[in-house]
């Protein structure tokens, strides 16, 4: 069974998002879920429409920020929320599919919109056999 999970950590006015999993890809997927959970309960999002995204950055940490920011951009311009992710990382390049649906104010009760992922408390690393991918998102 996969031990993949996400959690939040406090950051003054904003929110830290952390993905923990056996693989880097899964940790990135979990970090994205943690970011969704800043806005709404991910379980309320019907993951029905796929959106393909990709990004590239010189290292893992910048790649995590880029990944989260690509999602922020897609959610902002499509006015949607995502509920499921599938990530592939090859070298410095990430390709992924995110599944979601248009924002439903009543059902999703979105708490806040995300302005962007920052470099604060940014870490992507392997600890005790588990990948941790985390950063702070500005809301």
């Amino acid at each position: 069974m996969s031990s993949a999970r996400w959690e939040h950590f406090p950051h003054g006015a904003d929110m830290g998002v952390r993905g923990i999993a056996d693989t880097k890809e899964q940790a990135f997927e979990q970090a994205a879920l943690a970011m969704i959970a800043v806005v709404t309960d991910p379980a309320t999002v019907n993951a029905r429409e796929p959106v393909a995204v990709e990004c590239e950055a010189p290292d893992d940490e910048l790649l995590l920020v880029d990944w989260l920011n690509v999602l922020v951009f897609e959610m902002s311009t499509r006015r949607c929320l995502f509920g499921r992710f599938e990530v592939k990382i090859e070298g410095h390049r990430l390709t992924a599919t995110a599944w979601g649906e248009p924002v439903d104010i009543e059902r999703h009760q979105p708490a806040v919109e995300i302005k962007g992922a920052t470099y604060t408390a940014l870490r992507v690393r392997q600890e005790k056999g588990q990948w941790i991918a985390q950063t702070v998102v500005d809301v």
Binding site: P10, I105, A117
Partner: protein, 476 residues
């Protein structure tokens, strides 16, 4: 923050002596209580900013400083381009030119209270708020560029807002040297449907009453009397500014090494003012300032429409509009010599003292209005810039209360409904699409704004003029 790390210059001024790579001292303006409550990260960030090339005099933190991104929120730093000075995307923040504007209404509490709920409903109906909300304005690529070059002046030319407003906005409503061509297609796409929207988080639109006057002369000049009703709008450059911040943070982080800049923290990403990336950012950031000014002008138009429906006798001239996330070129006297500096204010409000040429003529003799937002329960303040402020902090003051509790903790502590009901018993009407959003913005999640403005007042950064209390609040 540990008091032992600081040298007490006075009861409201604390110094971090230069050490390590610091080029200048750090200076924090706050009471001893506020310093004790401040996150240690503020100390680290003030120190880190002090290491950046070309920084002039000191790395400052305002009384509401808290842990930010690279720069503390509540951070002020000025850089000299002729000494290798830098411009920093993190030193401006994601919500470029986020700010507050305050409108008179010509009404008093007795005029408004009988229609308080109807007014709140109409404002909520007229001004799009919250995630996923869109305005009715769709800009073509040509219109987008015109907006990014023209700011509030562009909005007025399109029929949103009034020409008389422009005098009461920083830069007369139009930031010069904006380069719409430096703004990416992604940033423009994010803004396409967002003109005239409030956003979410700590952004708000409030109907407020003047609860107390501290400085009769300045209040008279500002046209404020006890029980007057005013409207305050707090929002910024929306998706466009967020996207520009995101993109340039990365560009500057990658380019720093090529400019020979060692970053103690990636979030301090910056570039020399005299460099391609630096100039590109300044052009894009100024376009985002125009976006914020246009946005607040359009919202003002919508507010006036709402009042016309509910309280037709209201007249809503603009008192002032001031931003608190910017980098601006200003002339400041340093050791008796005038110098042209790039002043970063990240969660800090410009506070020009009396006589400054950039203050509207009608207000120039008393000083620039400094608009400070509180939480939806505790009230807001209007201050005025002081002469002493220039030497203290390049004419800068605080910008708000700052959070005392994380969003997560607030959401676990309160329910949105409970917050709305509690505020209703105090005569404050809340309208918001998100119950969770209201819970996370609960008044108890914020620090005491009174302590922050008291510290700004006693430290001489800006002087208290009036306290405002909310009657109705629209939250995104």
């Amino acid at each position: 923050m540990e008091l032992s790390l600081l040298k007490r210059r006075s009861d409201f001024e604390w110094e971090i002596a230069p050490h390590g790579a610091m080029r200048v001292p750090g200076i924090i303006y706050a009471s001893e209580d506020l310093i004790r409550e401040m996150d240690h990260k503020v100390y680290e960030q003030v120190v880190n900013v002090a290491t950046l090339p070309g920084i002039v005099k000191a790395s400052y933190a305002m009384p509401d400083a808290h842990w930010g991104y690279g720069f503390p929120i509540g951070g002020v730093a000025a850089f000299d381009p002729d000494e290798g000075g830098v411009v920093s995307a993190g030193g401006v923040g994601f919500d470029i030119s986020c700010g507050v504007r305050c409108l008179h209404t010509g009404l008093n509490v007795d005029d408004v209270m009988p229609v308080q709920k109807a007014l709140a409903d109409m404002l909520y109906h007229k001004v799009p708020a919250g995630l996923g909300s869109t305005g009715t304005i769709r800009l073509s690529p040509e219109q987008m560029d015109a907006m990014l070059a023209g700011g509030a002046k562009w909005a007025v030319d399109q029929g949103w807002g009034s020409a008389a407003d422009l005098d009461r906005i920083e830069e007369h409503g139009q930031m010069k040297h904006a380069k719409p061509g430096n703004v990416s297609a992604h940033a423009k796409k994010r803004q396409r449907d967002e003109m005239g929207t409030l956003g979410s988080g700590n952004h708000y639109l409030e109907v407020q009453k003047v609860a107390k006057i501290f400085d009769a002369q300045a209040a008279e000049a500002f046209g404020l009397h006890v029980n007057d009703v005013v409207v305050s709008i707090h929002c910024g450059s929306r998706g466009l500014g967020h996207q520009i911040g995101t993109e340039f943070l990365k560009k500057m982080a990658i380019a720093a090494a090529t400019h020979g800049i060692t970053l103690p923290d990636r979030e301090l990403a910056c570039a020399p003012i005299n460099s391609d990336v630096g100039e590109e950012y300044l052009g894009a950031m100024r376009a985002a300032i125009n976006c914020a000014l246009a946005n607040r002008e359009i919202i003002t138009h919508l507010v006036r429409e709402a009042f016309a429906h509910v309280l037709p006798k209201a007249r809503l001239p603009l008192l002032y509009d001031v931003s608190h996330n910017t980098c601006k070129v200003e002339e400041h006297s340093v050791d008796g010599k005038p110098r042209k500096l790039y002043v970063h204010r990240k969660g800090a409000t410009r506070a020009f003292g009396p006589g400054h040429p950039d203050i509207p003529p009608a207000l120039r003799a008393v000083g620039q209005p400094v608009l400070i937002g509180g939480s939806m329960g505790t009230g807001s303040y209007i201050l005025v810039g002081t002469e002493a402020g220039e030497a203290r902090s390049f004419s800068s003051a605080c910008h708000g209360a700052g959070r005392a509790m994380s969003r997560h903790q607030a959401y676990r502590t309160w329910k949105g409904r409970q917050v709305v009901d509690e505020l209703a018993t105090r005569g404050i009407v809340i309208r918001s699409p998100s119950s969770r959003g209201v819970a996370e913005e609960a008044p108890g999640a914020y620090k005491d704004v009174a302590a922050v403005v008291d510290a700004a007042d006693v430290a001489g950064l800006a002087r208290k003029v009036a306290r405002l209390e909310p009657l109705a609040c629209i939250k995104g």
